[in-house]
């Protein structure tokens, strides 16, 4: 069940969408692997907070667990990829 959103909250959703879109632009344009990785890291953190907001929008605390697990996986993924880059060239 979705709560009634006031204009301010719609604005928040629009800004978050713009932030995700811009970060995604960096993710897709690169130019090199490190730039993409930084964008992916940022997307992970923003998406974790976004999922908590989704939990409120959908009125279900279940999505908080989704947010937490997403955050953990995103962190582990970034660290693993960083290790891969570190090992690949040294």
């Amino acid at each position: 069940m979705m709560p009634e959103l006031n204009p301010l909250e719609w604005l928040v959703l629009a800004i978050l969408a713009a932030a995700l879109a811009l970060a995604f632009l960096r993710l897709s344009s690169g130019p090199a692997a490190p730039d993409r990785l930084v964008a992916a890291d940022t997307l992970g953190v923003v998406a974790t907070a976004g999922l908590a907001l989704v939990a409120w929008l959908l009125g279900s605390a279940l999505y908080l667990d989704v947010a937490l697990v997403y955050g953990v996986l995103s962190f582990v993924g970034v660290v693993a990829l960083a290790r891969a880059i570190e090992g690949a060239r040294s």
Partner: protein
């Protein structure tokens, strides 16, 4: 209460936008990490605090997520920066295009 929560959400969303703009504008990967990690960390913490004000029953889990982000976000950024540094990614100097 709802207004206060909305203000936190707005500040958080703006900081996330700032992180994304920083990602696009900064000239090299280290400066991008700097811009993105600071703004996205505080931004997501603000959003989580805003959600906590909207749903007071969720505080415990939100505090867990906030603590997690405050700890892992800088660790992830430092790990990335170290990997790039060890892989030989050069630091952008002033005056370079």
């Amino acid at each position: 209460m709802r207004l206060l929560a909305d203000l936190f959400l707005l500040a958080g969303a703006l900081l996330c936008l700032l992180a994304a703009v920083g990602l696009l504008r900064m000239p090299d990967v280290y400066n991008r990490i700097q811009a993105a990690t600071k703004a996205s960390t505080l931004g997501s913490v603000f959003i989580l605090v805003g959600v906590g004000l909207l749903e007071p029953g969720w505080w415990a889990k939100l505090v867990a997520i906030i603590g997690f982000i405050l700890f892992t976000s800088p660790v992830g950024s430092s790990t990335l920066a170290r990997a790039f540094h060890r892989a030989g990614v050069a630091v952008w100097q002033k005056g370079q295009s």
